[in-house]
């Protein structure tokens, strides 16, 4: 009798958000560190979003001067750096930090203290970057910080570039720590039965991301160290007398894989979310894994497609053009497999599924414009124009940010034990979808008509209407993000109780309590496929319907 009664779970651990600050500062629990990563990411998102609104106000009509040109250049740089380095990458590291150990049935990351140090380097990195604003002006050369504009000869008045370089060195060290930790955890701490061929696709995505960051983090740090040598020790690597294009090679050898570091975990999340809500297993599991590694390999052979106008040999350009276009193949495979997963399915369009579908609808546009940009002749027209701004936001916002929202709506119940409000979630999705497309779809045409990116203002009256539509739509995005923040705060305090497995998930994180106890599992369920929880549900279903048969001798 006692065995069948469900006893209230003993409060062996504290599952409230408001923990003593000393605990937050010293914890090595991957879940709390994950939450801190994610909160840091969201705060950066809001801050960089505010920068974006100022940028849009400045561009809403010709000849405006909401901010002066120097301040404008600092704002666009801070917007890019904050979104890329301090929001998307950091948030995705956080969600992986939370989910990967649970999904593979581990108790914590392999190196909890490295995890702790890796996280705390992030606020150091952010503070270093923002120090620039208090020392005569932050970085003002765009997030890419092309030399020689960042050199002392053109930046004598401020330390912004130095702080940016130091910040990215710290950031790269933190990223390398996190990547090493993920790889070791996934290799060494898998539960019994969790073979590599049974890893959830999100975990596979995290393996590929970690490999990428491990390889390209060091070149980024190297580029930044050389920039500092130039500025502080008087070397001539990238100066007007040196080789400025060398900087671009080093930066983009990091910079292009970074794009995939920001989207592969998103691909992983979508690969988790779609099968759960379609009630079908993922179509072509091994192909999905293969496609991830195809992208990892190709992404390191395409960097110079950012440099088609610097005057390279055309055969070198052709190589980079072909490699870039080839990335469309594994990405296409993933796309078609996701669609095939839902075919003949029973698809429940919950909020996370809506975001997943919104991601597919918008990322497609980013992928196709990517093929245009890869074509060298066409790129010489589109490069550094608003077409590129539109393209990169379609892959980064329509791609990464939509997947992040999908992931938040999907895993919030696991992390907090409460559901996010569905009505607010629907509003969040539709306002974001409309605001996003209203902002970035017509940006393509501005680029085609000759509006360069990163100009502080413009005099051409033909661009006025389009820019005004973009600015109005961008405020719709801001409204949507506000709804999202309200939803997070409200639901965390008083949302509907989620229970252990509100979505009927496939993977191990749904087998434990919501939120999970510090040790994650009282007993790790048996793993016999890449959907261990589905197997358990099926077994229960079978036990209910099947008649117990007498054992034969």
């Amino acid at each position: 009798m006692a065995a069948t009664t469900v006893l209230p779970r003993p409060k062996a651990y504290d599952d409230s958000f408001f923990k003593p600050i000393s605990l937050w500062l010293t914890t090595t629990d991957h879940k709390l560190i994950g939450i801190m990563y994610m909160v840091t990411g969201i705060l950066s998102f809001v801050l960089a979003g505010i920068f974006a609104l100022v940028i849009r106000l400045q561009l809403s009509a010709p000849n405006l001067s909401v901010v002066d040109h120097e301040a404008y250049n600092q704002l666009i740089s801070a917007h890019g750096v904050t979104m890329i380095f301090f929001f998307v990458t950091i948030f995705l590291t956080g969600i992986a930090n939370y989910m990967v150990p649970i999904m593979i049935g581990a108790r914590d990351m392999a190196f909890p203290r490295v995890n702790l140090l890796g996280f705390w380097l992030v606020p150091v990195s952010i503070l270093l970057y923002y120090m620039g604003f208090f020392t005569g002006g932050a970085l003002n050369a765009g997030w890419t910080g092309y030399a020689p504009l960042t050199e002392k000869a053109y930046q004598s008045h401020s330390l912004g570039v130095d702080f940016w370089a130091l910040s990215l060195i710290v950031w790269a060290i933190s990223g390398i720590m996190a990547s090493t930790n993920f790889l070791t955890t996934i290799v060494a701490l898998r539960a019994p039965g969790m073979w590599l061929t049974r890893l959830p696709l999100f975990v596979w995505a995290q393996i590929s991301t970690s490999i990428l960051l491990l390889i390209v983090g060091a070149p980024l740090a190297a580029a930044m160290i050389l920039v500092e040598f130039d500025r502080q020790l008087g070397t001539q690597f990238f100066t007007t007398q040196g080789r400025p294009v060398l900087y671009q090679h080093l930066f983009w050898f990091f910079g292009h894989p970074e794009v995939y570091i920001m989207i592969l975990p998103g691909f992983g999340m979508i690969s988790e979310i779609i099968p759960v809500f379609a009630r079908k297993m993922i179509f072509g599991y091994m192909t999905m894994v293969g496609a991830l590694f195809g992208i990892v390999f190709l992404s390191m052979t395409v960097w110079a497609h950012h440099m088609f106008t610097v005057g390279m040999n055309i055969y070198v350009e052709t190589f980079f053009m072909i490699m870039t276009m080839l990335i469309a193949v594994p990405t296409g495979i993933k796309f078609f497999n996701w669609i095939a997963t839902t075919w003949w399915g029973s698809v429940e369009f919950t909020v996370p599924m809506k975001f997943a579908w919104g991601f597919l609808a918008t990322f497609l546009i980013g992928g196709i414009t990517g093929v245009y940009l890869a074509s060298v002749p066409v790129d010489t027209q589109l490069h550094q124009s608003y077409y590129v701004v539109a393209h990169l936001h379609y892959v980064l916002f329509g791609g990464s940010v939509f997947t992040i929202f999908a992931g938040i709506y999907y895993w919030f119940p696991k992390i907090t034990g409460r559901m996010l409000n569905r009505t607010l979630g629907e509003w969040n999705f539709w306002t974001l979808f409309i605001g996003f497309n209203g902002t970035f779809l017509i940006m393509h045409t501005l680029g085609l008509e000759g509006m360069p990116r990163r100009i502080a203002t413009y005099a051409n009256p033909a661009w006025a209407t389009t820019n005004m539509i973009i600015t109005v739509s961008s405020f719709l995005i801001a409204f949507s993000v506000l709804l999202f923040l309200i939803n997070i705060v409200r639901s965390w305090n008083g949302g509907e109780i989620a229970g252990d497995d509100p979505w009927h998930g496939n993977t191990l994180e749904w087998a434990t309590a919501s939120p999970p106890p510090p040790y994650n599992f009282e007993r790790v369920p048996p793993v016999r496929s890449f959907m261990p929880l589905r197997d358990l549900h099926d077994a229960e279903q079978l036990a209910k319907t099947a008649k117990p048969e007498p054992v034969k001798a």
């Binding site: 399915g345 074509s375 550094q384 033909a462």
Partner: protein
């Protein structure tokens, strides 16, 4: 009256597009035309794939949503299908390789330093303006940037193959006039090349396309193409401006050709 007609045409063309053109401005130089054609060529498979995939996404929403399926419907569990996956690997592969080959043809045709040019102009970028040195003469057009864009035009004769040699003197700049062709970076340390051959008289605008400092948006470009006779007059005036004649009797030869010794 002709002028007012031209003005009206320019106004109309800028009005009906209204900042929402799905294509580049009509090219006036052959290399720009080839880029334009490549863009159109890529658009054909791109639009087909875009429409097909969006329809598939929409079909899933309309047909396979749970409310459209019978109660208690259990979807078939499909591991995958090797044949299908090969199909949607090979078809995109063929499409992108075809696009790459098509692009390569344009690249090979237009994007190598040309020989046999009729004129060579060295374009050097600086913060914040452009200098156009007409090689073979001492004429240099200084195009100092202003936001309003009322800069000194870079004058070229029509139907003349002009080779452009780009040089950077401080930071990296990028010379871009969308109606002529793509952009070319002016990088310190080495020369970079492009060319133009403008087919009709007119004035075309452009801007610096590489962030180069606080005055980046002021680095406006105007290219003015005029017929050969007007160009010769213009050039003579520029040369005369360089060498104010000391006395009416002396007429210094503007010809740069040195007499053989």
């Amino acid at each position: 009256m002709a002028l007012s007609l031209v003005t009206a045409a320019v106004l109309l063309s800028s009005c009906d597009l209204g900042g929402l053109s799905p294509i580049f401005p009509t090219p006036v130089s052959p290399n720009g035309q080839h880029i334009y054609d490549t863009y159109i060529g890529i658009s054909i498979p791109a639009i087909i794939i875009f429409v097909a995939v969006e329809i598939a996404l929409l079909w899933v929403v309309l047909r396979y949503r749970r409310s459209r399926q019978p109660v208690g419907y259990v979807p078939p569990q499909i591991h995958g299908h090797t044949g299908l996956e090969v199909v949607w690997t090979v078809i995109p592969l063929i499409v992108v390789l075809a696009i790459a080959y098509y692009s390569y043809l344009t690249l090979e045709k237009d994007f190598q330093p040309i020989t046999g040019e009729q004129m060579l102009v060295t374009v050097s970028g600086h913060q914040f303006g452009w200098d156009y040195a007409y090689q073979g003469t001492e004429v240099v057009v200084h195009q100092e940037g202003t936001l309003a864009g009322d800069v000194t035009p870079f004058v070229v004769p029509v139907n003349t193959l002009v080779k452009l040699q780009f040089q950077g003197t401080d930071v990296i700049h990028s010379w871009w006039v969308p109606a002529i062709s793509g952009k070319t970076d002016a990088v310190p340390g080495y020369d970079n090349y492009s060319w133009l051959k403008i087919s009709q008289p007119g004035t075309w605008r452009g801007e610096c396309a590489e962030l180069c400092g606080a005055g980046h948006s002021n680095m406006q470009i105007i290219v003015q193409a005029i017929d050969q006779a007007s160009y010769d007059q213009w050039m003579a005036k520029q040369v005369a401006g360089l060498h104010p004649t000391p006395s009416p009797k002396a007429s210094p030869s503007p010809s740069p050709s040195a007499s053989p010794r």
